[in-house]
Symmetry: C2
Subunit: 131 residues, 2 copies
């Protein structure tokens, strides 16, 4: 295993309303909180927000491309959606190795997405088999 | 709260290689296991597989559109990717209410994605606030 606890990697992306529309199309999740500004204005968020799974897809990006990268087989992910993401927010998804199983090439990573104010928006943990 | 334990809803979609490409573009996860058939043929899966988060996006679909539907605020989701999804697989995402908090309008749902052979591919649990 070429990884060690504490190893970390991140990607950053600004999530635009067009990304939200593409995710709505791909997933089929057309809830008005994501797509209907008039409806969304009347909610606690006072405007459209990104799908939690769209924000979380950046965790898949870091794991698939960077850490562990090629050879990763995603076994599990927990997600807590702790704050809203608005169109135009710049999200950084960071993964950090927290433990490695001694018997198998299975890595556990802390996974956190933060916005441009360094507020956490998604928190969780990933488990990845590395071939 | 208009829901009861046991209430259930589902959506079904066939995941095509074009969906995988769109998710790769949107998330930025361009791991070869999803996009490079020559590479993927040499892995345990013997071909390209869908991103786990793409399959899981169908859970967002059921929650956002159907159960609880409008007014849902996604608080959390756990995901275990228990079997691969190949292009052309027809995936059913089903959510079932397992409990409702007595003090707050917060619903816990079992979330399972199965393929056309009724094999589970993603298992987990969602927590949703209903406004």
């Amino acid at each position: 295993m070429k990884f060690n606890p504490g190893d970390t990697a991140a990607v950053t992306k600004t999530i635009m309303q067009t990304d939200i529309e593409k995710f709505a199309e791909l997933s089929g999740d057309r809830n008005s909180i994501h797509l209907d500004e008039n409806y969304a204005k009347g909610t606690r968020f006072q405007g459209c927000i990104a799908h939690g799974m769209l924000t979380s897809s950046l965790i898949s990006n870091v794991i698939g491309n960077h850490l562990p990268g090629l050879g990763s087989i995603y076994l599990g992910q927990s997600l807590r959606f702790v704050a809203p993401v608005f169109p135009g927010d710049t999200i950084t998804a960071r993964v950090t190795v927290t433990s490695i199983r001694p018997d198998k090439p299975i890595v556990t990573l802390e996974t956190v997405c933060t916005n441009q104010r360094e507020e956490a928006v998604v928190k969780g943990e990933a488990v990845v088999l590395v071939e």
